[in-house]
């Protein structure tokens, strides 16, 4: 104790102990550090006792496979062509879902604790459920499918993000298409998280089944997807093998995330798997458990007729599919083919007339292909292969999807001088770089009205000449500061801001007054606005609110005959801090020659903080 006093610690005179005392912190901290991460006490507990408290809530008991009573559809499966080499079913485990949101969700706010357990939440009806949980959260007892409020109560400081099932589905489809392009031609999507890959005749290209599956797992890990892969003779068996707890080690066939079932051994594999692995309804599985049937092997030994009578035909169907007695066709994803038309020449061409002629042949073929695909082009590229191997490219962009051959040809011909034919061109290809769906469109809605002119063709033509950035429209902005009152907008599709339709009985419906136009049409505005207000010299004006009598602009003196004003405009403090107190007083003045100008004085003439009383010319009236 004397030593503690010598260190000047905070022990009270009597040597009494109190929670959180400085002298007791080191030992306690060491004790806490020794604990596994999910057992460390939350901060709110640390002030009250010096030992790590047990968690306030008991851990939820999970069943053997980590995820308790999940709604059906979270499983995966496998495909096999009977008699073929085998099927593989990589199962994207649920741990991938939080990863997906970490990459696509909102960026973390500054100061946010990135190490907080991450879960995704999904609203179903009136309930919010946990859709996915990261390994740290699962170690704390949070399982997918539990109520979010329960998870919140269980773990403080949980990082909750909204689940995005459609985004997950789209990602899975993208992954399936990528696999179909690079690994095997037949890839099918099963459920929400499983892919079937038909490996018949492709494993030798990737160094055998074992090597291929290892590479697959590594590739998926690089993409941030935790995968379970199983290879079996049938899709059902592979599905079953990927949807079992990791502890099962099927007689040395499994290794890490990969399970390779030797040919013909899948009945033995299935026999030792739990019934959950059979792609059945949750209700059927529950009933099977109540009857004491926990393994597929027990199910196989049962007579079939009573099974069908009790559970319906689906259980036998699934069993037969898994065993390979019944074929299970796959619905493979079809990777989209890029659209292109090519023309090769017997003799190289080098003259612009010849190029124009062959463009005239190619463009209708592209238009036909577009029409068959129901697409309109947004971006088209011509690649002319020169005999010395230097491709010549012309790219055109279109403001709206279009497949009119005449219009496309006109745009391409305009750029034809960019092709340097060199010694000659021996092939020309038109690639569709970006396409959008283009269906039939109404020409005009009424016969007695003239159709509104379509400006897209003009915009395309001008954009090929000067670029899209140098064409614009203006759009009113709710700002009284003149240089901010008009903003640029894209030329086509001017955004129509329609007021939200009010419900019947909304009190705002009583307000019959139309919304005020942000440009205040009643107040006269100049025809041209100087890019920057120009400072005036020799201004003679009375304070605080009289227009100037005379001023000098660009070296020329003007005598003011008539004037209107002031129109006071306050700075927009919510945009820039420098405008917090700024005031401009605008005056509309007419000089002795009949010219009309828009002047302003910075400052209201009373408080120096609003401006330094200097005068500027901002615009000129007609």
């Amino acid at each position: 104790m004397a030593a503690e006093h010598a260190k000047g610690c905070s022990v009270p005179r009597g040597g009494g102990w109190r929670p959180g005392a400085r002298w007791a912190r080191d030992k306690r901290q060491a004790h806490i550090d020794a604990l596994p991460e999910h057992q460390r006490p939350p901060i709110r507990d640390l002030g009250r006792c010096d030992v790590a408290a047990d968690h306030a809530f008991k851990r939820i008991k999970t069943d053997a496979w980590g995820h308790p009573q999940l709604p059906p559809g979270t499983g995966g499966g496998t495909a096999s062509a009977p008699g073929g080499g085998g099927g593989a079913a990589p199962k994207v485990s649920l741990a991938a879902i939080p990863l997906h949101h970490a990459s696509h969700g909102p960026p973390p706010r500054s100061g946010e604790d990135l190490s907080a357990p991450l879960v995704t939440a999904l609203r179903t009806g009136n309930r919010q459920l946990v859709a996915g949980a990261c390994p740290a959260a699962q170690a704390l007892g949070i399982t997918p499918g539990m109520a979010l409020a329960k998870a919140r109560a269980q773990v403080a400081g949980l990082d909750i993000r909204p689940a995005d099932p459609e985004g997950d589905r789209a990602d899975l489809e993208r992954l399936a298409i990528a696999l179909a392009r690079r690994w095997t031609p037949t890839v099918a999507i099963e459920g929400e998280d499983t892919l079937f890959l038909d490996l018949s005749g492709v494993t030798h290209l990737h160094g055998g089944e074992a090597r291929m599956t290892r590479r697959l797992v590594r590739m998926l890990a690089r993409l941030g997807v935790t995968a379970q892969v199983a290879v079996a003779d049938t899709a059902g068996a592979a599905w079953a093998a990927t949807h079992v707890p990791a502890e099962c080690n099927f007689g040395g066939w499994g290794e890490g995330n990969v399970l390779l079932c030797p040919p013909g051994e899948h009945p033995a594999l299935l026999a030792q798997l739990p019934t959950e692995a059979l792609r059945l309804d949750a209700k059927q599985i529950e009933l099977l458990h109540r009857l004491g049937v926990n393994q597929i092997g027990q199910l196989l030994a049962m007579p079939r007729a009573p099974l069908v009578r009790r559970f319906g035909a689906s259980i036998v169907l699934r069993l037969d599919q898994a065993l390979g007695h019944l074929a299970e066709p796959l619905h493979p994803v079809v990777p989209p083919e890029p659209l292109a038309v090519t023309q090769r020449f017997a003799e190289p061409i080098a003259s612009p007339e010849a190029i124009a002629h062959w463009l005239g042949e190619l463009v209708p073929r592209l238009a036909l292909a577009l029409a068959q695909a129901g697409l309109g082009a947004r971006r088209v590229e011509l690649v002319a292969d020169r005999i010395d191997g230097v491709p010549q490219r012309i790219a055109i962009g279109l403001a709206r999807p279009n497949r009119d051959p005449a219009h496309l040809l006109r745009l391409l011909l305009r750029r034809i001088e960019q092709v340097a034919p060199g010694y000659g061109i021996d092939a020309m290809t038109l690639h569709l770089r970006r396409g959008e769906r283009l269906g039939p469109e109404p020409v005009t809605e009424r016969l007695d009205e003239e159709a509104a002119p379509d400006l897209a063709a003009l915009v395309d033509t001008l954009a090929t000449r000067i670029g899209e950035r140098r064409m614009w429209r203006t759009r009113p902005v709710e700002s009284d500061v003149p240089e901010r009152s008009a903003a640029r907008a894209p030329v086509l599709d001017p955004p129509e801001r329609t007021a939200a339709t009010l419900k019947t009985g909304d009190v705002r419906g009583l307000d019959r007054q139309a919304a005020l136009h942000p440009w205040h049409p009643g107040w006269r505005k100049p025809a041209r606005l100087l890019r920057r207000p120009e400072r005036l010299d020799h201004v003679m004006a009375e304070l605080p609110d009289q227009p100037p009598r005379r001023f000098t602009w660009r070296g020329q003196a003007h005598k003011v005959i008539r004037a209107d004003g002031p129109e006071r405009i306050f700075g927009e403090w919510w945009k820039r801090d420098a405008e917090r107190h700024a005031v401009r007083d605008y005056f509309h003045v007419e000089d002795d020659a009949g010219h009309r100008y828009w002047l302003f004085r910075s400052g209201d003439g009373e408080r120096p903080v609003t401006g330094d009383l200097s005068w500027y010319l901002h615009g000129v009236f007609g």
Binding site: P453, D454, L455, A457, L458, T461, L462, R465, I466, R470, M471, W472, R473, T474, R475, P476, P482, S485, A486, V491, P494, W519, H520, P521, R524, K525, P526, A527, R528, L529, L530, R531, I561, R562, A563, D564, H588, V589, E590, A593, G594, H595, R596, Y597, G619, V620, F621, G622
Partner: protein, 231 residues
């Protein structure tokens, strides 16, 4: 229909008798090129010419393409002479040749009501190209000729334009109270095909793009009827 070689051309009248009857076509031909310049290089006259063109374009029928060289047009001001921001498309050109080429594209498209361009120096062949592009359509071509630094008259060069206008701002209509009344312009037709040159002072465009003749009210007894009723 057989018209004996005479073809009826679409014309946009000003709606001012004194102005229309002195124009060769009783208005501005829609399928033709018209040149406009400020009388002096002063920016006030330049803006008067701008609003004069904007008013004509506002009374034309469809979308308007404005080929600019600088970003100084103020859309709220243009909308006050009737040229709504929804109708107006801007295109920026880096030099006169590009501005003329963009104007020609706009004229050939046939879906625009007016094409306006701002240039400094134009040769005769370029104006003839514009005139030819405009013929047969309903797109009025308005070419604003800016004053160059040398002080040469912008409308002096030969041109294929049908009419050539000079616009200058004039002192506004006097008001009985403090303030600025309706602005006035001094319009002068420097040259026109099928007519003589003349000068006229008008009141500037109103919110629908229409000009007016200044009313010569002089010293009319104000509100005489009401005065008798009060008495």
């Amino acid at each position: 229909m057989e018209t004996g070689g005479f073809k009826r051309r679409p014309v946009l009248p000003f709606g001012i008798g004194a102005l229309d009857k002195r124009l060769g076509d009783k208005g501005l031909r829609l399928d033709a090129l018209h040149e406009v310049a400020g009388t002096t290089p002063d920016m006030g006259d330049d803006c008067a010419a701008t609003l004069f063109m904007a008013g004509i374009a506002a009374r034309a029928w469809g979308p308007v393409l404005w080929v600019v060289r600088r970003h100084d047009l103020f859309a709220p001001g243009l909308s006050q002479v009737g040229l709504d921001h929804k109708r107006l498309i801007y295109a920026e050109a880096v030099d006169d040749a590009e501005a003329l080429a963009i104007m020609e594209e706009g004229l050939r498209h046939r879906g625009l009501g007016a094409v306006i361009g701002e240039v400094k120096r134009v040769a005769m062949p370029a104006t003839r190209r514009l005139q030819l592009a405009a013929e047969g359509g309903r797109t009025i071509a308005l070419l604003m000729k800016r004053h160059s630094r040398e002080g040469v008259d912008p409308l002096g060069a030969p041109s294929a334009a049908v009419t050539r206008w000079r616009v200058a701002s004039a002192p506004s209509t006097p008001l009985p109270v403090e303030g600025i009344g309706r602005p006035r312009w001094r319009l002068s037709v420097a040259r026109q095909r099928g007519g003589d040159s003349f000068e006229l002072e008008v009141e500037a465009c109103d919110a629908t793009g229409r000009c007016d003749l200044p009313a010569k009210l002089g010293n009319r007894p104000a509100a005489a009827g009401r005065a008798t009723r009060a008495a």
